[in-house]
């Protein structure tokens, strides 16, 4: 299994509603000073589009230029963060199905 089997997968809620597709995976480290041993999945970033998601505007507040930030945040205004604990099932290369009551929050932190 590789990360490519997860990126781009459709993300579907338990009642079959499509949230978007996986644009990134947040990984947890053991701590800032700890050596990198294994990196477990922490959360999924989900958006309806993939254009420009590698610029990071939809998940970070501080990055300019303002014009680009506005543009890409508008494209990804429905970008969501879903904790991996809320994932029910992952079919590699196809879909990720969420549990009922998974905590879906906006990807962009509050200002």
């Amino acid at each position: 299994m590789t990360l490519n089997d997860l990126l781009g997968c459709d993300v579907v809620t338990h009642d079959g509603r499509k949230l978007g597709s996986v644009i990134d995976v947040r990984l947890k480290t053991a701590g800032p000073a700890e050596p990198v041993q294994v990196l477990p999945f922490d959360a999924l970033l989900v958006s309806r589009r993939s254009t420009g998601s590698l610029f990071g505007y939809e998940r970070r507040r501080e990055q300019g230029p303002a014009l680009f930030a506005h543009f890409f945040r508008a494209i990804h205004r429905e970008a969501r963060l879903v904790p991996w604990s809320g994932v029910d099932q992952w079919t590699p290369g196809q879909t990720v199905t969420l549990k009922a009551g998974a905590a879906v929050t906006p990807a962009l932190p509050e200002a």
Partner: protein, 409 residues
Amino acid sequence: MKRLLGVMLGILTAIGGFVDIGDLVTNAVVGSRFGVSLAWVVVVGVVGICVFAEMSGRVAAVSGRGTFDLVRERLGPRAGLLNLLASVAVTLLTFIAEIGGIALALELVSGVNYLLIVPFAAFALWLILWRVKFVAMENVFGLAGLALVVFAVAVWQLGPDWEQLLHHATHPVVPFGEGHPTYWYYAIALFGAAMTPYEVFFFSSGGVEEKWRRKDLIEARMNVFLGFPLGGTLSLAIMTCAALVMLPRGIEVTTLGQVGLPVAVALGKIGIAFALVGFVAATFGAACETGLAVGYSVAQFYGWQWGKYVSPARASRFHLLILVSTLLAVAVLLTTVDPIKVTEYSVVFSAVALPLTYFPILVVANDPDYMGPSVNGRLANTLGVVYFFILTVAALAALPLMLITKAGQ
């Protein structure tokens, strides 16, 4: 004292290294057809290359990453690959034009047909890229390229009516007999010549090779902010020479020989001797830079070892790329395609390809993960966004204008 000398040397090589075959040809062609009515484009182009080079130099120094490392990281492998193919194609076209330019310059020196010179010039070039250190290469060709100052002396010697010249430059009108599409087509060509993408790949990769740190940024910025505008002045001098000597005689520049004739009018044989040294140095230097830029781009995209600070055996794929590009350039030139025509197309396609690398660099220069506290300030971002729009408009307009004007006929 030693540091000051280093800074001086850097600025001088930046001036001498600014002009390449694209600048020589395009500025002379434009001067002979449009006078100084397109001089403003050189100014816009020089400010643009300053903005772009400062940004990518800063990114290189702070993050230690070359341009195509970042292009792939920000665009992903698919869009990144298309970007790489387009950029490398344009850089290769420029590389071919530069080698052709060396051969044409040496033809003017020796009287030997340039096609016979091409293989020898290419071999000498490859040998330099194989053996000579980055800094030595840059300094020798940059300093010799300063011989092109002879064009500025020639303008002064021709004694133009400065007031009138300035008036024409600041109140541009399309000259009689030229259409508006042609005017704008050459505006884009001139812009592409001033802002050729390889300059930035080369500049930033050089920064990574020489292991720039934050403290080296001041020096790099001086090179950019003093060297490039002064180099741009040489471009303007070449244009003005053609405007003063060729335009009144109804001569449209189509060969490298014609580019130098105004210098002979103003300064005679000694002037031509300087101009020839300048032609050879400028094209040789730029051929080295474009050849390396091809290797840098592909190697950075795939994460291969690259650079001139290790022996060729430790960067085999990088050197294989350079070798293959050189052979390809020779093969193309030996089809007897006119190197001046190749040059004219290369500068226009440069303008088309520019936004592809400019945009990712602008984004990364704002990314705190890479840049920490050295992200773009307000000025860099304002200029950065303004130029993003200028570049995009120029890139989109270039090909339609090329078709409408039949490449500027």
